[in-house]
Amino acid sequence: MSVAAEGLAPRARSRAWGKFRRSPAALVGLAIVGFFGLLALAAPLLPIADPLATSWTAIRQAPSAAHWLGTDELGRDILSRMVWGARASLAAGVVSVAIALATGVPIGLLAGYFGGFTDMAISRFTDALLAMPFLITAIALAAFLGPSLMNAMIAIGLSAMPIFIRLTRGQVMAVKKEDYIEGARAIGLGHVAIMTRYVLPNIVPPLIVQATLTVATSIIAEASLSFLGLGQQAPAPSWGSMLNVAKNFLSQAPWMALWPGLAIFFVVMGFNILGDGLRDALDPREH
C-alpha cells in the first residue's frame, strides 16, 4: 500500500491553503491586510519625513506635492504619521484580539464543556463583566495598569474577553449535543482530546467572524484610550489618536480626518474579508 506513515494533519492544512488561494475575495483581504502590515514594518526604511517633526510654517496644509496627504495642526507630515501610526493601530487591533481569544476561548470552552457549577461560576462572572460598557472597562483597566500602548492593548483585550467567553460557551454547548462527541467518549478519549480535536475545530467559524469584527472595535478603542492619554503616548502617532485630534478641525482641515478614517475602514474591511476566507478555507464542507 502506498499510503505513507505521515501524519494526517498536514494534508488537511494544505487542502485549506489550496482552497484559500482559489478564493479571490480572501486574497483581496490578505492583500489589504498585508499591505498595511508591510507598511507598518517598513516604516523606518521608507523615505518619508520624521513623523514627530513639527513645523510652524506648515500648519494644517492641504495635500500638496511636498506633503502628499497634507499636514496636521502642528505642521507634521500626515503621510509619515499614517505610516508610523499603522504600527500602533495594527498592533492594537491584532494583539488585543489575540489576548481576548487566548483568554476568552479556553474559559468559554471549560464553561460550555463541563457545565454545572463551573459553567455557573464562569457565566455569572462573564455577565458581570458584560454589564460594564466595553470602553469604560478598558479605560478603567488601562488607568490601573498605567499609560502605555502595551497596557492599552492588554486592557482592550481583557475587556473584549467576555464576548468570546459567551460566544465560545454557546457554541460548545451546541456542538456538545452532537453524537460524535459521545462517540469520542465511547472510544475512550479524554476531556482534553475531545475539547481540542472534536469541539474546538467545530466552533472555529463564528470565532473567526467575531475576531475580525473585534479587530475593528479594538482599533477604535485604542483611539479613545490614546485620546485620554492611556494608549499610544503623544506625540507618537496612531490612527485613532490622529482621528481624535482631527475631529476638532473637521471644517478647516477635513483631510486630517479623512486619511486615518479611510485607513481604519480599509483595514477593518481587509480583516473581515480575510476572516470570511479563512472560515471557508478551514471548513472541509465548503467547496
Partner: protein, 603 residues
C-alpha cells in the same frame, strides 16, 4: 370518473447550481380526485418533497425553475400571481409537515395558533374563532379539547402536536391536503392513530389528499393510488393494489422487496440476511441465514442485573429535586457472545438510556453490569479505558456521528491510536483495510464525512469501532435513518461481521420489521421496564404482554389487502416516566411463558 381536483402535467423542477440548472423533478404527471388519496413514494433524493413544494410554489423563484402545468379545479397555479397564490395556500391547499416539534410556534398557545387561521381565512370574530377552534380540536380527537385551548405546544406530546397541526390545516376547510411525511417522526402506535385520523377526516370532508412518504407500509395503509418516484422520475403510477401486486418497473419491485415485512420470519430459526436487490434490473438474489453464532453454554459476555437509571428533575425551595425520570427501572438481561439482543420500544421508553448506562456514557443509579469480566459500574479510569476496547457503540444519526473536521482516515484510525493498538502508520494501513471490509474504498481515506451518503457514513462509523475488535457493540437505532435499500445492506453487513467475529450486538430499535430479521432474542421496553423478553420467534410469534401485542399490531404491513381494521381505542397521551420524589416502584413479577420467554405480570 369525476374531474380531477388537482392535475399535475409534466411537472419539471430545476435548481440553480454552480454547474447550471439541475433537474430534480423530471416530467411528473398525476391527478388527485376529490376524496382520493394519492401517495408519492420514493427514497431520499427522489424528488418527492420537491414535487409538493413545486405544487405549492414554495420554492425560491430565483434558484428554482418550475415547468409544466399544475391546475387546481381548472385554475393554473403556476401562472397565478404570487398574491393570489397566497390565498390558495392554507385556504384551498393546506400542508402538514414531518416535524411536529418545530412547526408550531412555541411562544403562542395552540388555541391562538389555530384560531389565527380561522380569523385570517374566514374573518371570524374572537369568540367565534375560539368556539370553532375547540370544535376543530375535538374533531382531531384531542382528549379534553376545550380545556387544552390555552396550553402551549410544549405541553403536548409529539402525536398530539401533529393533531394540532392537522387541526390548523383543516381550519380553512381545504380542498386538498398535502401531507409531507406526517408520521415519520412519530412512534409506530401514534403513527397508526394519525393515519386512522386522516382517513376519517377525509371521509367526513371529501377533500383530496396528497401523501408523501418513503414508507411502503404507510402507502399500503392509506393510499388509493400511488406514484413511485426514483431520482426525479416518476417510474410508475397506478392503483396501490396494482403497484403492490404486480409493479411493472424494476425499481418498484426492488423497493418492495427491500422493505422488511413483519411476520416474514415465521419458521426461520436464525437471523436472515436481506435479499440483495438490484434497483436497475429488479432482480432479487436471496441471501442465506446467519450461521449459528451463539454459544449459550459459555458465560454471557454481558450480564445486566437490576439496572436502574434515574434523572432528577425540578427543584423545590431548598434546591432538592421534586421528582425523577425513571428512565431505566430494574432492567436485567444477559447477552452471549455472537448473539443479537434487540431492545425495542417507543421513544422515551428508556432503551437508549439502557445502552448508554451499560457503556458508562451515563452513570446508572444502581444495579450490576458485568461486561466481559469488567464490573462496569466500579471501574477506575484505567480499567474503564480497557473496557471501552471491549464494548463499542454505533449511533443513529449518520449526519452527526462523525466529526465533520476529521477525515475518514483519521476517524477510523483514531481509536486504534488512542488504545495504543497501532502507531500512526500502522493505524492508517489498518484503517484502509477496515474501510475495504465495510464495503468502502481505501482511496476514501482522505475524504471528509460530508462527501459521503448516509449509508456510507454509517459504514465509516462501523469501521471505526471495528478497529478495536470489540466483543460487544451497542447499535442505537443505527439503521433507522437510512433508506430501505441502504438499510438492508447495512443490516447485512452487521450480520456478516457477527458471523465472522462473533460480535454480540445490543440492537436498539423501534423498527419491528428490522428487529425481527436481525435478532436472536428480543426485549420489549415500556416506560423504563422490560415487559417481555424472549427468543425472537416467541416474542413475534406468540406475544404475551398487551403492550407487545399493541406494538406489533401497529406496524403497517406493505400489503393493501391487509389494511388495518379500524382501531377503536381512543388516543391516549403516552404515560410519563416522571415520578415524585420518594416514589418506590412496585415490585414486578415475571412469568415464564415458554423456555426463556419472560413476561411481566399485569394487574
Amino acid at each position: 370518473m369525476t374531474a380531477p381536483l388537482l392535475s399535475v402535467r409534466d411537472l419539471t423542477t430545476a435548481f440553480r447550481t454552480p454547474e447550471g440548472w439541475r433537474e430534480v423533478v423530471k416530467g411528473v404527471s398525476f391527478n388527485v380526485a376529490p376524496g382520493e388519496t394519492v401517495a408519492i413514494v420514493g427514497e431520499s433524493g427522489s424528488g418527492k418533497s420537491v414535487t409538493s413544494m413545486s405544487i405549492m410554489r414554495l420554492l425560491d423563484p430565483v434558484n428554482a425553475r418550475i415547468g409544466g402545468a399544475v391546475t387546481l379545479e381548472g385554475r393554473d397555479l403556476l401562472s397565478l400571481p404570487e398574491e393570489d397564490m397566497r390565498h390558495i395556500r392554507g385556504k384551498d391547499i393546506a400542508m402538514i409537515f414531518q416535524e411536529p416539534m418545530t412547526s408550531l410556534n412555541p411562544a403562542y398557545t395552540v388555541g391562538r395558533q389555530i384560531g389565527e387561521v380561522l380569523r385570517h381565512h374566514d374573518g371570524a370574530g374572537r369568540a367565534e374563532a375560539r368556539a370553532a377552534t375547540a370544535a376543530l380540536m375535538e374533531r382531531v380527537r384531542i382528549p379534553n379539547a376545550a380545556a387544552r385551548l390555552d396550553d402551549y405546544p410544549h405541553q403536548f406530546s409529539g402525536g398530539m402536536r401533529q393533531r394540532v397541526m392537522i387541526a390548523m390545516a383543516l381550519a380553512a376547510r381545504p380542498k386538498l391536503l398535502i401531507a409531507d411525511e406526517p408520521t415519520t417522526a412519530l412512534d409506530v402506535t401514534i403513527q397508526g392513530e394519525i393515519l386512522e385520523l386522516l382517513k376519517e377526516l377525509q371521509e367526513e370532508s371529501g377533500m383530496g389528499m396528497l401523501f408523501i412518504t418513503h414508507d411502503m407500509g404507510v402507502v399500503a395503509e392509506i393510499a388509493d393510488r400511488t406514484v413511485v418516484m426514483y431520482r426525479g422520475d416518476c417510474v410508475e403510477t397506478g392503483t396501490t393494489r396494482k403497484i403492490f401486486s404486480r409493479g411493472d418497473h424494476p425499481y418498484t419491485r426492488a423497493l418492495l422487496a427491500a422493505m422488511p415485512r413483519i411476520g416474514s420470519m415465521a419458521g426461520e430459526a436464525w437471523p436472515l440476511r436481506f435479499d440483495r436487490v438490484d434497483t436497475a434490473t429488479g432482480s432479487i438474489e436471496p441471501q442465506g441465514p446467519v450461521a449459528d453464532t451463539v454459544d449459550r453454554s459459555a458465560t454471557p459476555v454481558l450480564s445486566v442485573k437490576n439496572l436502574v437509571t434515574r434523572f432528577n428533575v425540578g427543584s423545590d425551595l431548598f434546591g432538592r429535586s421534586t421528582g425523577a425520570v425513571h428512565a431505566v427501572e430494574n432492567v436485567s438481561f444477559d447477552l452471549h457472545q455472537g448473539e443479537t439482543l434487540s431492545l425495542v420500544g417507543e421513544s422515551g421508553c428508556g432503551k437508549s438510556t439502557t445502552g448508554r448506562s451499560i457503556l458508562r456514557l451515563i452513570e446508572a443509579t444502581s444495579g450490576d453490569i458485568q461486561l466481559d469480566g469488567f464490573d462496569v459500574r466500579a471501574l477506575g479510569p484505567g480499567d474503564l479505558m480497557r473496557m471501552r476496547r471491549t464494548a463499542q457503540m454505533i449511533f443513529q444519526d449518520p449526519y452527526s456521528s462523525l466529526n465533520p473536521r476529521m477525515t475518514v482516515g483519521q476517524t477510523v484510525a483514531e481509536p486504534m491510536i488512542r488504545h495504543r493498538l497501532a502507531g500512526r502508520g500502522e493505524a492508517r494501513r489498518r484503517a484502509a483495510a477496515l474501510l475495504e471490509r465495510v464495503g468502502l474504498s481505501p482511496a476514501m481515506l482522505d475524504r471528509y464525512p460530508h462527501e459521503f451518503s448516509g449509508g456510507q457514513r454509517q459504514r465509516v462509523a462501523i469501521a471505526r469501532v471495528l478497529g478495536l475488535n470489540p466483543k460487544v457493540i451497542v447499535a442505537d437505532e443505527s439503521v433507522s435513518a437510512l433508506d430501505v435499500s441502504i438499510k438492508a445492506q447495512v443490516v447485512n453487513l452487521l450480520m456478516d461481521l457477527q458471523e465472522e467475529r462473533k460480535i454480540a450486538f445490543l440492537f436498539i430499535s423501534h423498527d419491528m420489521a428490522v428487529v425481527e430479521r436481525i435478532s436472536h432474542r428480543v426485549a420489549v421496553m415500556y416506560l423504563g421496564e422490560i415487559v417481555e423478553i424472549g427468543p425472537r420467534a416467541a416474542v413475534f410469534g406468540a406475544p404475551q404482554h398487551p403492550y407487545t401485542k399493541r406494538l406489533l399490531e401497529a406496524v403497517p404491513v406493505p400489503d393493501p389487502a391487509r389494511r388495518h381494521h379500524r382501531l377503536t381505542v381512543a388516543p391516549e397521551e403516552l404515560k410519563s416516566p416522571v415520578r415524585p420524589r420518594g416514589f418506590t416502584p412496585p415490585p414486578r413479577h415475571y412469568r415464564e411463558a415458554a423456555a426463556g420467554h419472560l413476561v411481566m405480570e399485569t394487574h
